[in-house]
Assembly symmetry: D2
């Protein structure tokens, strides 16, 4: 309801994956799993099932609950094994062409693959494959993986897959399905999450544990960084085909992407967010009357902040969850009204108060600007913004849709300038060490950081082959390539 | 994901209304207002605009943000005056026929009307009108109002309207639009809310103040019970055409229906809910470790409870807001999994804890049963359910979609039986006097209750003509008649 | 593919009706009957069924074969009695509001009605009804009939219906359905057709006999002008409630509207068209090589012409029947190409030949102009246009969508001017007496014409109340009122 | 309206192609061209345009006039060169995946291709390509061509294309589009048609001349069998890359597939059909009263028959052209009615007459059976069926959707048995020599037949590699492979 509606000023995780092996109504189970992973991608989804003789593919734009829950769609997905994918972006001109899983009938048989992450040398590999005659039907890096498997000289399917994966750089947590096997892999750094679950004996692979909870499945363990699990009638085989490296899980999953009720890499997300709020209260104390979260993502940190600071936690801002898929085209007369589609301040709670506002991050700064203005118009006497992460200064090339660096507020302003820009009485970000402390690390190990924190530090843990030599580095994800 | 999915075990406010007079892009403003009132009805909406010579009508099933935000729809609604309506139910076989506003070209000119509430003698009046030759195109009681205006022997439009309204029993907060005037009325008891706002000189009528906030409009005052306001180029005229009665606003609006950031009848909804939580903590103390709300409706009362009880407030249950429009058809294998589409317990917060669960009300009890089971499975050592209202024992006939009395858990069980049924260690409801105290009344005045609390007490403040002589009293709203 | 695509320069019959009483799968039978009547209206259709306790209504835009043949639609129309309607225009801003049948729950019970024709005093009656409090939900004259029945002071249903019909002027062949009866009526002049059929004992009412043929039903007889048949469990009762008048069936039904395989008022349409061709050959002989019809409507007359003239009948123009529902938006570069979407001349048959072109009528003349140009470009040495009816000089007010008089080519040009305009070597129309001769009448009886031929003669057989006092007489049908 | 509705008992040409080079609004021109070729495929269509820097692809199920005529679709197809394709079948589970043109970004640049015909070794080649790592996204043989181009070791684009085409067996009339060139090719036997046209200087490739007529383009010449034309800014280059063979154009194009107003391989289709009718009248004289075509395909031959036999040509059967996209699900009560969805006999023309019925061919015989029964029920005293081609005894493997051999009536019955089966007084087919005579050949040259007549003779002019070793030979087209 503005040239930049609220929705545009957020980071978007681009994908969630889910697979189940040998279970009645496999596609229905995958549908439920993807529904629980909807926060990782809302714009399109796909499921591939295998019925013992044939593969079936369905891909649809829209929410899982509007598409795959339809009886007719599920009936087109028979079989006892299935994998699925939900993704953020369908943009890039390709319509449904970029929606995963990708499936191909290879000479070795059918193979479907879905992935969360981003291959940082996908374009380079793609050009090479095209030169030898491969035809791409999408711009997705997932299709690159499929072509690498198809053209591998290795003999057996798993060898072909390892051969293909060895060519890749970047982040990839992927699930694959052949007529006999379901596979799961995490890249050597384990940048994106992937867990193993079990539903009454049927193995499951999923991006987060909340996708196990929805169907009452048990959590078995995290797939380890660099691990390839091969699930077949013979059981689950674990292979470590890559050179071992020190893991660097994405720390932003804890800050924002993962669902608070998920437990990833052994840590509960909600708990870490509360600890982040506690660290923040300790690092940047301020005299105030109430602590107000920017809902929903700021809520756990605000609870932690309020408990640590001994201040009342209040829902001073109400979020309207009924968000539709179209936006009013604002005329001049509408624009100047300053419409509040998503958030509204509760004047009675805020009037005459000194408010600590807690949010997870600042991207472009436009949302913060509006939220602060709204809180001031509701009568706050002071507004102190507290951000539950360090300043976001660099683009992500590992599967998150970030604006290019130049558009990130923190890449072009000091904290003081940012405070002026969003018009607060004070602004504080959590320190990088504070963030690490909230994860129970003593501090960031500068020589060997325990996480991927490139969006805060610019320290990318892999090569960025496709970006090399490009003046103005642009995230690959904008090219429609991320998963 | 069960024979009774979670969504079925809730009470539904059936309608929200919004109108604006003499303002550029009137229909777009109404669209925004209805978006803010979406919690009062999610299934269908309609807008009627007047462009100085013609009326334009659009009615659509679905969320405002999926339908009326489309440029093409808004272009079919030109004009500077418009009224709109959002409603819960489109069931009853009528498709869009029952979607409001209703419009008719009367001999006196065009007239549109939208209403929130329910006319308790609508069927009786309708039969009488049919006998004299009126043809009904819907089963909505709103159309009855239109026919009463059309057939009134009175001379002028406002007189016809008063004549029509005088025939009605029940609850009605309505907005109407003719070529020259916008009108707003509340029934003599003022059962449903209606407020007057102002957007830079253009008068607004809306169900709640949150619909003013979204567009930055000012709150002027509540329309009073029994008041008819006539808005025209000459200003705003206030008429009290009905015999004066002691007002009885619906107390359940405070408990559940209204948005927490709205201020209705002079009281802020969020504040009252927190006070309700406080009363509840005082009335039914229990030793416990954490207070956990059933989100979203239980959150404010849980905050109030936790603050009063000095216990930590924790988001031990996470709600998935991505709810689609279709539901998986559960097969046996799916059904037995006990799928959790909407809520998930956060095991790490709950395991080993004594939990106070706070919810707004218990309808059939099936949801509570599942929530409690989920919390137990997550490892709670004790579960104490605290309900932020008295037991719901009687159907509402004033615009809320309640199951028939026999299906209300509290109408057929004692509190002890209910505790057994939902399998909690203890169960307490707020007392009726406690609820009144939270609204700053000293207690319920038994001789002249300050609110309509029929759903708790069975004390209906109007005659229920259409129900008379019916053995098994069934709420009119189920007949498609409520608004 | 021109500012006036071919499709615009035609006359459109506005409606077909069909009903069946006490027959399994009644709605499916009606669907088939309407499919056979599709030539009488292609833009929308509706069916009302009665299942012994309830009426069911479905109305859809589009071809029968795209809408009512769907299983889901038919399942919503249970019952053993049903009536249906197919119509030309859905324009006029009303969307589906004007699509018939109309249904109302009257105090006497449910009643549905569908009609073919046009009530020439509908607006006048409507205004009167509005003054006494009736609310109209459409602009259709069929709804007027329903309101007249609803407000009739008569006691029994059939009396109410007769009372209502007595108030009407114009053309009406209608079918109605109540819980106990199916009724069929033709106006006193019998302007539009209506036949009685029988399917293994179940009575049928239909606009044309071709709708009986499609389901293998027997033709019983034409409903007579001014006759009302009441079909019930007790059999078929025939009533003549109106003052008897000399019938004047629409002669244009023979020229163009009715399907060639239908037999209406005792005459086979194809045979009459061939006789018309024969008369035309006798009246306007010309030396030529081949006779070419403008397909499809000109084909039977061209066969008759060729047989009479002893010239070869050739398909020199091919029609493309694959016509979609959207039209290319012509750019300048497209426009100047002179696109031929619907007809193409077969150069090999035409080159070097003297061609007699046979068409049914000339409306605006734009189509004829293009056809002639196309035939000349294909190499015809002479083009002689022969029209199978007299010049169309006046608008129809009895259910045909004609342009206003001023746009009819024949109302503003002599035959010589018309020949110049469409650029033919010669142009002849059939004489009015020739047309009557083709129907086996000796000639037109000037004092008491045997047919309604108002479009050729301007001699309207009923009053045109709604048109009175209007300077520029405009067909009511353009107001969305015809059926 | 029967287990085998009429529409199932026909042969279907599977494709039409159209391309234009360097012309404003190229996609709109292609849309019009495809509309004229709609008889060659009604179920789906696609267009690829090139705008000087990018290729644009649109593929839609449905009629051209329902899909590509939409402004929004055309706006997504900018550019001055475009090729398009319309096809019969979308079945085979692939949805839109098999709809042409196919497009790929090759290392040499973008290339789109659309083809009419069928590659008889496509599966064999496809398996080979898969073994070396090619991934197929469809089951269409057209994609095989694209992969052969992509993997060709040749250096330049045209050489790669020739390399690819040299690997193919079967029938292929194809158009291709690269960033610099439009190409057109016919297989060495020239089984399917392809013509070169010119629209004010812009070259056109089209399946038939009727696609030139619709836009007023000039016919230049047929592309010759085995010819490859390369159209570029430098003009039109003609190459004959294959070993020369004696051409064998599909004779069934004259009998049924091509539009009567098209001139293919120098012969006008309508004229040949009339001559076929004349030959038929000479070969199988019978005493009769009228000649009646089975419309529409039997009309030209019936005209020729009637002229030769000196009998009146009459439209004794009327065809309903309003065919929708869904079919009523017949219940028992409907089924036994013998519904006539598409054809109806005109009783008045047929009663008491000896009728010669003229149809183009007999496939399964079910349609003929019903038509004959209908004509008998309409009162014909004798029915003599005359078929405008020899008995259809073998499947087509060159782009026509024929049932497998065993389902062809003529492959399992003698003519006498067939006459009994369809219940006619006499049945005659045109002789193979009579058919050749109608094309102005003296007779079929048995040693070197002038046409492909495999469907009549079983004499296939190419190898059928994919069929080899298969017991029960099944047409490839049923696998979704034909174009």
């Amino acid at each position: 309801m503005d040239e930049t509606p609220f929705g545009d000023d957020e980071l978007h995780e681009e994908c969630g994956v889910f697979g189940i092996f040998q279970r009645t109504d496999a596609a229905a189970v995958v549908t439920l799993g993807l529904h629980a992973l909807q926060h990782r991608g809302q714009e399109a989804a796909g499921i591939v099932s295998y019925d013992g003789s044939q593969f079936h593919v369905e891909r649809h734009a829209g929410l899982i609950g509007d598409t795959f829950t339809k009886q007719a769609v599920l009936e087109r997905l028979p079989g006892t094994s299935a994998i699925g994918h939900t993704r953020y972006a369908t943009t890039g001109g390709g319509g449904l062409r970029n929606v995963q899983p990708f499936f191909a009938e290879l000479s070795a048989g059918g193979f479907a693959v879905a992935h969360n992450g981003n291959i940082t040398n996908a374009l380079t590999v793609q050009r090479e494959l095209q030169r030898r005659g491969s035809i791409f039907s999408s711009t997705s890096d997932t299709e690159t993986i499929l072509h690498l498997v198809a053209t591998s000289a290795a003999r057996h399917f798993v060898e072909k897959l390892i051969d293909a994966l060895s060519r890749l750089e970047g982040a990839f947590s992927l699930v694959g399905l052949s007529s006999k096997k379901m596979v799961g892999v995490r890249d050597p750094l384990g940048i994106r999450p992937l867990v193993l679950g079990d539903l009454e004996g049927s193995p499951i692979l999923a991006s987060e544990t909340c996708a196990l909870d929805i169907i009452g499945a048990d959590f078995v363990r995290d797939i380890e960084p660099g691990e390839l699990v091969v699930i077949s009638e013979d059981g689950i085989e674990s292979i470590f085909p890559f050179q071992a490296r020190r893991p660097r899980f994405c720390i932003f999953e804890y800050v924002y992407f993962a669902r608070p009720d998920s437990t990833v890499e052994g840590r509960n997300v909600y708990e870490i967010r509360k600890k982040i709020g506690g660290e923040l209260a300790r690092e940047s104390h301020v005299e105030a009357d109430i602590v107000v979260p920017v809902p929903d993502s700021g809520v756990p940190a605000a609870i932690g902040y309020a408990q640590e600071a001994g201040l009342p936690f209040e829902l001073g801002i109400i979020r309207n969850h009924y968000v539709g898929r179209t936006f009013i085209q604002p005329t001049d007369s509408i624009r100047h009204m300053g419409v509040k589609l998503k958030h509204n301040a509760n004047r009675r709670m805020i009037e005459g108060k000194r408010v600590v506002l807690v949010d997870d991050s600042i991207v472009r700064g436009t949302t913060s600007q509006k939220i602060v203005q709204m809180v001031r118009e509701a009568g706050a006497t002071e507004v102190h913004m507290r951000i539950a992460s360090p300043p976001t200064r660099a683009s992500c090339f590992y599967g998150v849709d970030t604006p290019e660096k130049a558009k990130l507020l923190a890449s072009r302003m000091t904290i003081e300038e940012m405070a002026d820009f969003i018009k607060v009485d004070s602004l504080s970000f959590l320190s990088i060490d504070g963030l690490y402390r909230a994860t129970d690390e003593p501090s960031r190990n500068k020589l060997a950081p325990q996480f991927c924190d490139a969006c805060f530090t610019g320290d990318y843990p892999t090569s960025l082959t496709d970006q090399d030599g490009t003046e103005n580095v642009r995230p690959l994800s904008l090219l429609g390539g991320a998963g």
